[in-house]
Structure formats: C-alpha cells, structure tokens
C-alpha cells in the first residue's frame, strides 16, 4: 500500500509501507488514549470544581475490577504493538538469500561505497528497483550509522565487525541518506544521496564507468600474493594452511571440535585474529594482519576468497588457482 500521508516521508522501499502502517496503528492508539484521558481530566476539572471553601471530595479508595481492566487492556494492546513491530524487525534482520551486495565503508566524515562490479562512489549510492539489496557496513574509525528515511531503514556501522542491512527499492528517485550516529565534528555533513533507478537505467549507469574501477576480486588476488597468503594457503591443501577453494559459506571444523560457517565475518576474523579459531588438523602459526590492511583491502581479499567458492581442491599442483567467476 503506497499511500502518501501528510508528515510521512516518501515511500521508496519495501519496508516503507510496513513501517508506515505500524506507525499509523500506534498513532491511532496513542491519540485514543491521550484524547480520552485528557478529556476525562478536563471534564472532571471543571465539573468537580470546589464550590465552597471547606468542601472535601468523596472518600473513594479504589476499585479492583477497574484496576484489572486498565491493566489487562493496555497489556493486550502493548502485546499487539510488540508483535507487529517484531515481525517487521525480524524480516529486516534476516536478508533474503539472493541479494545484490554493496559494500559501504564509513569513516570520519564520508562514505565510500563499492558496487558489485567494483565501481566506487563517494557519498552516493545507486541502486536498482526490484532487487533485494544488502549493504555490508564497515567503519574505519568510530561508530556511524547509515540511514535512508525514504526507505525507513538504518543500521549502525561499528568498527571491529560488520553489520548488514537490506531493502528492496520500489520507487525511482533521489533520496537523502544521513549518518545517524554521532561521530564527531562533521557528523551532520556526513550524508549524501541514494539514487534509485529502474533496472536498465542502473545497468547502464553501472557499466558506464569513469575507468577507475578495479574489480575487487582482481585486487584481492594481487593482495593474496603480495601479503604472502599464497605461500601457506596452497590450493591443494598441502601447505601449512587450509586450501581456500570452496571454503566460502561452507562449514569449517575447528580444532576444539566445534564447527562454524565460513562467512564474511569469519574470514575477516581469520585475517585479523587467527588464533581465535584454528582449523582442525592445522597448527596455530598464522600471523595476524591487524593494522596492516585497510577495511577495503580486507573486503577485496574476501571478494577473492569468495570467488574461489566453486573451485575444487586440485589433487596436485601447489600454485595459486586462477581467479574464478563471481
């Protein structure tokens, strides 16, 4: 339902009508109770105005049934508000499987955004309608927050780990985005524009680059060699470290017997804090790269490792495998 109500921002995402309906429900309930109580107070205030100097009021002490009524009814309404809000939020926190992933890095006081094909934007985000978009949010310094009022979505951008958020744009246009977690001097200037285009317009925009794009997979492969990851992480698994073919989004058995899913967060942690999770059958000899890689470089390495997802572990040959398809 895409109805534009006064004082409501434009609706430009799949979440906007849901949030707006929820808002309307809470406004109606609140207006009902505040108008009702205000009316009662005003009515009593004038109707029971003191008529003589020594007059006193009626000695009424309480009424258990009345107490129960005004505990039970508000509780039920509160449960309804909770339940409806929870449903929207749970959807929001669980992105669908097949999203288009865009990387967003916040730093004092600007945003660097990287589209799937590597095209970069500064303080601008282009997205197509009709696609589920997932933003992977990283911070290089303090806590920020990426907020798009027309989409009704935001998420904190916290240094030290990734947060993700998702939405499906529904209406072409140009919409504000804001940094929405106080982050220092130019917090109020740290915003920009989201441009929503129809799919063909977006495709055209995406490919018409200014020539500066580096495919993050290619950049990641370069880093993989430069930083000597390739010397231990041999493709056939005979090196000091596990092969990374097929690792991404797979299950990894750890030395302590537990298992984890090798998602983006796991890869990042493995690069920055290797001893945290040691793979079963391997020694804890990997050095930490904390302080030696920027967030962008970690994202490029992750993109490269992701590209190895469909590569089998070769039976022989110790070299670095060819970059796979995205």
């Amino acid at each position: 339902m895409q109805v534009q109500l006064p004082f409501y921002p434009e609706q430009a995402s799949n979440f906007a009508p849901r949030v707006d309906s929820l808002m309307t429900f809470l406004i109606v309930v609140s207006v009902f109770f505040s108008a009702g109580i205000t009316a009662a107070i005003v009515y009593f205030f004038f109707k029971y105005h003191r008529k003589s100097k020594a007059e006193i009021g009626a000695p009424l002490h309480g009424d258990l049934r009345l107490e129960m009524t005004w505990i039970v009814i508000p509780s039920l309404l509160a449960l309804a508000m909770f339940g409806w809000g929870a449903a929207v939020y749970v959807d929001y926190r669980h992105a669908p499987k097949d999203t288009m992933d865009i990387y967003v890095i916040g730093k004092q006081w600007m945003w660097k955004i990287q589209q799937p094909n590597g095209r970069r934007e500064i303080n601008e985000l282009h997205v197509p309608t009709g696609r589920d978009i997932k933003l992977i949010l990283a911070s290089e310094d303090v806590i920020h927050d990426f907020f798009v009022p027309a989409f009704r979505v935001k998420m904190d951008v916290v240094p030290g780990h990734y947060n993700t958020m998702w939405f499906r744009p529904t209406k072409p246009g140009r919409y504000h985005f804001f940094c929405s977690q106080y982050c220092g001097t130019s917090h109020a200037m740290m915003g920009g524009w989201v441009t929503v285009m129809d799919p063909s317009g977006y495709a055209a925009w995406l490919s018409g680059s200014s020539g500066e794009n580096v495919d993050p997979v290619v950049a990641g492969e370069k880093l993989f060699v430069e930083k000597a990851c390739a010397t231990c992480h041999l493709a056939n698994g005979t090196g000091r470290a596990p092969s990374l073919n097929g690792v991404y989004e797979g299950t990894v058995r750890l030395a302590d017997g537990s298992s984890v899913t090798a998602d983006d967060a796991y890869i990042r942690e493995s690069i920055l804090n290797p001893p945290a999770k040691i793979v079963a059958g391997y020694q804890p000899v990997m050095p930490s790269f904390q302080g030696q890689l920027t967030e962008e470089q970690i994202l490029s390495l992750t993109a490269y490792i992701k590209s190895l997802q469909s590569q089998p572990v070769p039976a022989s040959g110790a070299g670095v495998s060819a970059p796979g398809k995205k």
Binding site: L26, F44, Y48, E55, A58, L60, M81, F82, D145, P159
Partner: protein
C-alpha cells in the same frame, strides 16, 4: 511565622556549610541544582538559536557539538538526577515520617560536598576545551578520537555518583528504621514510596556507570583496549555497561516526580488517592523492571535478534505500571473538590505531558518503528516530554506545593498560574514539532540540516523562547516571596501529611513532640483537625492565618 525555626536558629556561613540539618542541606542542593539548570539552560538556548537556520550561523560545528554534550551532562547528572530526591526528598522525608532527621545526617552533608566536587571537575572540563562526545560517551569516539576535555568530565561524573549512592542508602535506612509510631508501610505518603524505589536504583545502578566511565577514562589515558577495536576491544560492550545504568537513571528522574504528583492530586481534590497500593506497588515495579530493558537503546547495533525481541517485550512491560498511575490519578479527580491552585496545574500538566512522552516511548520500543526513528529528533522529543514535561513539571509543582512549608511564605498565586500555563504552552511548541522532524528523518545531534526541515525548527525555537520565560518567572517570584511573601501558616492548603502538622518553617528538630500516627494517608473525611467539611456552620470554618 514562628519565632525560631531552622532557617534562623543559627547564623553565619559555617552554620550552613557545616550543617547536618536535612532541611538546610536541601537548600544547599537547591542552590547547586539551580546553578546547573541555568548552565544547561544557557546551552539549550544557544542550540535552539543556532538551529533557526539550516546552515547554522551562531557557532562552529565544534562548538555546537560541545553545546549539546554539555547541555546533556549538566542537565542529567547535575540537575535532573539530584533535583527532587536531594532537594525535596531531603527536606521532606524525615518530616513526612515523623523523624528528627535522616538516618545519617553527616553522610548527608558529605553527599552534598561530593556533588559539588564532581560538579567542579565537570565545570573545569567545560571551561578548558569543553566536551564533545555526547552525554552518552560512546566509544571509541570518547575514549580514543575526541580531542575535548573528556578525562576531567568522566572523573567529575564518577565522583558525583557517590553522592547518589550515599543519598539512596540514607533514604532506605531512614524509611526502614525511623518511622514514627503508627506510621506503617501502608500509611507512608506515596512520595516516600517513590523515594524508596528511586533509592534502590541509586544504590544498585550508580556503581555501574562509575565503573564504566572509569574504564573509558583509563582507556583514554593509558591506551587500554576495553572498547577500542584496534586493540581487540568491543565498542558495544561500552554501550551495554553504559545503558545498564543510564536506563534505570531515567526512572531515577521520573519516579520522584510521580511521587510529587501523587501528593498534589489528593490534596487539591481533597480526597484519598485512588488505588494507593497500586500506585505504591507500581513505583517498585518500575524500579525493578527498569533494570531489564537497557538494550532497547541498542536495537540497531547489530545485537542478536533474540536479545532485541526480549528487550522490546520487557520495555512494553515496564510501561504498564506507569499507565496504572495515570489511570489512578485521573480517577482521583472523579467526585473530588478540585481547586485550581498552581501545584494542581503543574500536576495536571505533568499528566498530560507524561502521557505523550510515555506513549511515544511505546513507538521507540516497537522494533519495526525503531528501525526508522532511532537516533532522530523523535527520540529527542520523547525524552524531553518525559524529562522536562514530566520531571521538571513535577519538580516545580513540588516546589510550589511545599514552598510554604520550606520558607513559611506564600508565593504570588496569580503570577504562578501564569507561569505554569506559559510553561505548558512553550513546552509543547518547543518539542511537539520535533516528533514530526524525527519521523521525517532529521537525525539528532546535527548542527546543520536540509532546508526542508527549517519551518519545524523555527517553530521549536519560538516555543523555546516562551519556555525560557516560563522558567524565569518562578526564579524571580520565589526569590521575591522569601522576603515579601505573605506568611503561610502551618497548613495553608490544607494537606494531610505529617509535615503539615508542624510549623512553617519547621523548627530544627522538626517536631516538638514525636507524633503518633493513627490515620490513613489522604483521609480528608477523618481529619477534623484540618477544619474542613465537618463544621456544620460556615462560621466555625477556620481561617488560614498565622500560627
């Protein structure tokens, strides 16, 4: 007025600075909180003037960020949290329960010195570089990146915490052990129940903020890694620790004001409070449940969805006891004998504004809505409705209600009513538009904003100028009344509490003879000593003259 009372029993600066009389200590706190309110108020004025235009020409961005930070720190830690407990609570609690003083009078004085010491550290921070981290001190901004005077500020707040802890402990022991004969728990005035609940939060919650700020300060000075991710720390840990106190802290700010309203309404409706045990119990319920909702400030940090669901549900639970109070206060008006005196205007204003503030809290507790309105002006409007529309109206209502007891003088009634109405109108004009601003998407803590938000910002600033007038008026006429006000007599309203059975102002030892209580609270029907309604002929009704 009585010949000798607590104000003139002894003279000289030392008799005030070394007093252990809870009533004089209340005055010392009154001076302190009024000072910090003025400091915070000046910062607020500058903020609202700056926000008249989208580009903001009054101050630089750095200064603006310091203004909203220092406004928050001054108002929360040095005005709102001490105000009703340390001013009205200190003055009234022993009188209300028939005691000579609190359980530990010297510790009470120490609490005030600790408050002043903490305040000095914070003032030092304000004047040597200022503070620009937000009153919430989120890391790593506050512990690593900020270039402002963070360390003296956190030291000051750390020290100030002990003032709260000692006051809370003092009140709990006083209520348990020093009630006069016949003053059973369920004959306690509801203001005492409210102070008791608040004191629980003081004692259990404050140590957590102390440790949290200590850790943030140590991280800043010694480059430790509690919250700094570059050293393996977790910024979200800070938020959990910070909000574990700071959420219950908001109940510290509102419960005493609710206690004041629970005293004013029966007095000016001249009938018992409706649902006494429900109001008393709801104060305790709010204090307890309030410890279990803190992470509703963190729904969008990436915390687990299960945690978010739990904290949202609990946040709705904590709203129910507050709703119970509002319904009971309204029911108390039914078949009352209602007068329009200033305290009643403040109490009713409190209910109206607290209603809006509390209901908008339900919006923020709603997970699906919080995604949109978190960290926008919607939040700013919500908490100002509760803290200013609620807590400050309660504080002012209490000051007006008990001013005759504290000073022996009456404030000028007509001017006071004008001020109350001015405040109510100015307040709504200031903060009402901010709900809309927030829902439209204007984030908080912004020194600049997109031009389409200007009209609402101008409305808000216009309201703030009316609000400022509303606050200045009582400062002027209260001061005037101390010297020139009409003598009040022991019980001008009249009200039913024990504090009103002694002289105005009371003698230093409060009561000439320890009272023995054999009546229920707010029992107008069975109090012939109040001179109401029981005389058959009007000529037998007493006048409200001197004692």
């Amino acid at each position: 007025m009585p010949q000798e009372h607590y104000l003139n029993a002894t003279y000289g600066i030392r008799s005030w600075l070394l007093t252990t009389d809870h009533k004089r200590i209340a005055w010392l706190y009154l001076m302190g909180v009024t000072f910090f309110f003025s400091v915070g108020g000046i910062f607020a004025t500058m903020i609202r003037i700056h926000l008249l235009t989208p580009e903001g020409y009054l101050v630089t961005p750095e200064t603006y960020n310091k203004l909203f930070t220092m406004h928050g720190v001054a108002m929360i830690f040095f005005f709102l949290i001490p105000s009703i407990p340390a001013v009205l609570g200190n003055f009234l609690l022993p009188l209300m329960i028939g005691a000579k003083d609190v359980a530990f009078p010297k510790l009470n004085l120490l609490s005030w010195y600790i408050y002043i010491t903490g305040g000095c550290f914070v003032l030092y921070s304000f004047s040597t570089g200022g503070l620009d981290t937000g009153w919430t001190f989120y890391t790593p901004l506050s512990s690593v990146y900020s270039n402002s005077a963070v360390t003296p500020a956190v030291i000051g707040i750390f020290i100030n915490g002990f003032s709260s802890i000692l006051t809370g402990m003092n009140f709990v022991v006083t209520i348990h052990t020093m009630r006069a004969p016949g003053m059973t728990w369920f004959r306690l005035p509801l203001f005492a129940w409210a102070q008791y609940a608040t004191s629980i939060i003081f004692i259990l919650g404050t140590p957590v903020i102390a440790i949290t700020l200590l850790m943030a300060g140590l991280e800043r000075i010694f480059h430790l890694g509690f919250f700094n991710p570059a050293l393996g720390g977790d910024p979200i840990l800070f938020q959990h620790l910070f909000w574990f106190y700071s959420h219950p802290a908001v109940y510290i700010m509102i419960l005493p004001a609710m206690g004041v309203v629970s005293e004013i309404i029966p007095t000016f409706a001249r009938k018992p409070i409706f649902g006494y045990s429900f109001i008393a119990g709801s104060s305790i319920a709010i204090a307890v449940i309030g410890f279990f909702v803190w992470a509703h400030h963190m729904f969008l940090t990436g915390e687990s969805t299960y945690a978010a669901l739990a904290f949202s549900l609990l946040s709705y639970l904590v709203a129910i006891p507050s709703a119970v109070k509002v319904f009971n206060w309204t029911a108390t008006l039914y078949k009352g004998s209602i007068s329009y005196d200033t305290p009643m205007l403040y109490a009713l204003g409190f209910i109206g504004l607290f209603l809006i503030g509390g209901l908008t809290g339900l919006f923020l507790a709603c997970l699906g809505l919080d995604i949109h309105i978190h960290d926008t002006y919607f939040v700013v409007a919500h908490f100002h409705y509760i803290m200013v529309g609620g807590a400050i109206m309660g504080y002012l209502g209490g000051l007006h209600f008990w001013w005759p007891k504290i000073t022996g003088k009456l404030y000028p009634e007509f001017l006071a009513r004008v001020a109350a109405v001015t405040l109510f109108i100015g307040f709504n004009l200031t903060f009402g538009p901010q709900f809309i601003l927030g829902f439209l998407g204007m984030p908080r803590r912004y020194h600049n904003y997109p031009p389409e938000f200007q009209v609402l910002n101008v409305l808000s600033t216009a309201g703030a100028s009316i609000l400022a007038l509303g606050y200045l008026l009582p400062m002027v006429y209260f001061t005037w009344s101390v010297r020139y006000g009409k003598a009040a007599g022991p019980n001008p309203w009249p009200a039913t509490g024990l504090e009103w059975t002694t002289a105005s102002p009371p003698p230093t030892e409060n009561f000439d003879v320890t009272p023995v209580v054999d009546w229920e609270p707010y029992d107008y029907k069975n109090r012939p000593d109040l001179g109401l309604a029981t005389p058959i002929s009007p000529s037998l009704a007493p006048s409200h003259g001197d004692d």
